[in-house]
Symmetry: C2
Subunit: 311 residues, 2 copies
C-alpha cells in the first residue's frame, strides 16, 4: 500500500480550537472544532492533547502522521520557548511546547496565528506561490503575518507583525495605550464599539448588540451614521495597509479576519483609500485581495509550519 | 609584498558625491567629495566614472581594487536594472549600471542609499554585528534601510523602506500626496518649512532662512514657538519609529540623516515619545541609537555592498 503523509494541525483561538489532519497535498482527512476552555492554562493544554491524540487515532491506515503544528493567538517566544496569549486563560509566558512534548508522541512546531495565516494563504490561498506577502488579520484584534522572500518574518524577539499598535493619529488616547491605535480605531471590536456608542443612542435601538457585522449591514442598508463609521474605519485601514506597503513593498496584501467577512464591499473601499497614502510606485504594483481560505487560513498554516519544520 | 584588498565606494547624493577607496578592514585609503552636477544624467555619470577612475589610480601598490560599490538616492530596480532618483537631474529610470559597466574596468554593485546606510552601520557603526536593524534617515526626505536576519530587505520591487510615505494623520493634505505624510510632517525640510511658516512671521525675522538646524537651535535657546515645532515633529518621529518597531521588531533603530545632527537633544525626546505608541514588549527590547558613522554611513555601506557582492 502506498503511504501518504500528513500532520496534525491545530489553530488555537480565544474562543475555539480547530484541529485537522492535513495531508501534504493540502487535503484534510479529519477535522474538529471545539470551544476553548476558559478555566486554566492546563485545561487548554488538555484540550490540545486530546484533539491531537484523536486526530492521530483517526488517521486512515495509509497515512503516516509525522508531526503536530500549532498556531496560537499571541507571542511565541522562540528564544525562551514560552507562549504569552492574553485571550487564553493563564497563558502568561508558559512553556507550552515543553508541556505538549511530554504528552504527545510526535515532534511539535509552534508559531503565532499570524505566521500561520500568511503561510496558509501562500500555500493554498489567494497568495499561492507568492513570496512577498502581508496577511492583515482584522478581527477582535489586528495583527499581520509578514512573508519576505518566502520566509515568515519573526523579528528579533518574535514580535514582528504587531501592527495593531500602528500609530495613525497624533492625539494619544488611553484606549491606544491598552491595545494600540490601529486596533482601537479599526479592529472588528472597534467597529462594534463605535456602533454601540454612536448608533445605540437612538432609544428605539437601546440595548441592541452592535457587532462589526451589524454595523456593516446597517451601512449597506443605507444607515448614514453606520456608513460614517465604516468610512472612518476605512481611512484607518487604508492608512495601515499603505504603511505596510510603503515599508515592506510586498506583491500582495491579503485581507482576512472577521471584519473582512464584509467582503468586496469593504475591500473595494479600502483599495481606493490606501492608494491615497501609499508610495505611488509600490501602490501601483501591489495587489490587495481578500483571503481565499477565510477561517481555515490558520489551520492550513499550522499544517504548513509543521511540514516545513519536519518533512 | 602582502596584498590588501579594497573596493571603490561611491555615495551619490542630490547635492554631493562622496568617493572612497575602502579596504576590507574598513579603513579608507583615499577619499574625495565633489558637488553633484545639476546638468544632465550623463554629466553625473561622467562624475562617477571620473571619481572611480581616480580612486582606482590612487590605490597604494599593495592594494588590489576588486569592485565598485555605488549607492544612490532613489529607486534601484534590480528587475529591469534601472535607476530612478528624483533629486538627480535626468535620472528617470535610466540604465545606470549598464552605462557604468561600459566605462569602468571593475564589476559594479548598485543599491539605494538607505540600503547602504543600514549596511554601513551594521558593519562599522553603532549596530556593529547586529542582524535585525532599521536605519531611519531623516534629512531632506525620510527613508529607512531595513535589515532582517543580516540581509537588507528590498521588497518585491526594490521599493521597501519608503517610509517617508507612512500615513500618521487621518486628515489628508495635498502635501502628503506629493511626498508622503511622514516626510511632509517630520523631515528636515519639513522642520525648516514649519520654521519659515511659523517663526518668520516676526517682522524682525522676515527673510531669514529657517533650516531645520536653525529651528532646533532656537528651541534649545528657549524660543517657545520653535520648541512647539520640535515637540510636534517629535510626536511624528515617535509614531513613525513605533510603527517600524511594532511591525518589524528589530533589535535596534539607528537614527541618522541631517535632522539627527541635533543629537541626543532630539534622540532623547524621540525615545520618550515612541514608547507611548509602540507594542510594549518590543518597545522594552529595542534600542534607539544615533548613527555612529553619520555622513559616512552611505559610503561605508556602498563599500560593504560591493564586498558582499564580489569578495
Amino acid at each position: 500500500m502506498r503511504q501518504r503523509c500528513g500532520v496534525v494541525a491545530l489553530d488555537v483561538g480565544g474562543t475555539k480550537i480547530a484541529c485537522g489532519l492535513v495531508l501534504t497535498d493540502g487535503s484534510v482527512e479529519y477535522a474538529r472544532t471545539i470551544p476553548t476552555s476558559q478555566d486554566s492554562p492546563e485545561s487548554v493544554g488538555e484540550q490540545i492533547v486530546a484533539l491531537a491524540t484523536e486526530a492521530i487515532e483517526h488517521a486512515p491506515r495509509d497515512v503516516v502522521t509525522a508531526a503536530v503544528g500549532l498556531v496560537v493567538p499571541g507571542w511565541v517566544n522562540h528564544t525562551n520557548r514560552t507562549v504569552w496569549a492574553p485571550n487564553v486563560a493563564g497563558w502568561d509566558h508558559i512553556p507550552l511546547e515543553q508541556l505538549l512534548k511530554e504528552r504527545l508522541p510526535l515532534p511539535i512546531a509552534l508559531d503565532s496565528d499570524r505566521s500561520g495565516y500568511v503561510k496558509g494563504e501562500a500555500w493554498l490561498g489567494v497568495a499561492r506561490g507568492l513570496n512577498d506577502i502581508v496577511f492583515l488579520a482584522v478581527g477582535t484584534g489586528i495583527g499581520a503575518g509578514i512573508m519576505v522572500d518566502g520566509r515568515v518574518l519573526h523579528g528579533h524577539d518574535d514580535l514582528a507583525g504587531a501592527v495593531g499598535w500602528m500609530a495613525l493619529r497624533p492625539g494619544f488616547s488611553e484606549l491606544y495605550a491598552r491595545m494600540g491605535c490601529f486596533e482601537a480605531e479599526a479592529s472588528g471590536a472597534a467597529v462594534g464599539r463605535k456602533g454601540a456608542e454612536r448608533l445605540a443612542t437612538d432609544p428605539a435601538r437601546a440595548g441592541e448588540q452592535w457587532t462589526a457585522q451589524r454595523v456593516v449591514k446597517a451601512a449597506v442598508g443605507g444607515d448614514s451614521r453606520a456608513a460614517e463609521i465604516i468610512d472612518e474605519v476605512v481611512v484607518y485601514l487604508g492608512m495601515g495597509i499603505a504603511n505596510l506597503v510603503s515599508t515592506l513593498d510586498p506583491e500582495m496584501v491579503v485581507l482576512g479576519g472577521g471584519l473582512f467577512r464584509a467582503g468586496e464591499y469593504l475591500a473595494e473601499k479600502v483599495r481606493r483609500e490606501f492608494v491615497r497614502w501609499c508610495q505611488p510606485f509600490a501602490a501601483q504594483r501591489v495587489r490587495i485581495e481578500l483571503s481565499a481560505l477565510g477561517e481555515r487560513a490558520g489551520l492550513m498554516g499550522a499544517a504548513r509550519i509543521a511540514m516545513d519544520s519536519f518533512l
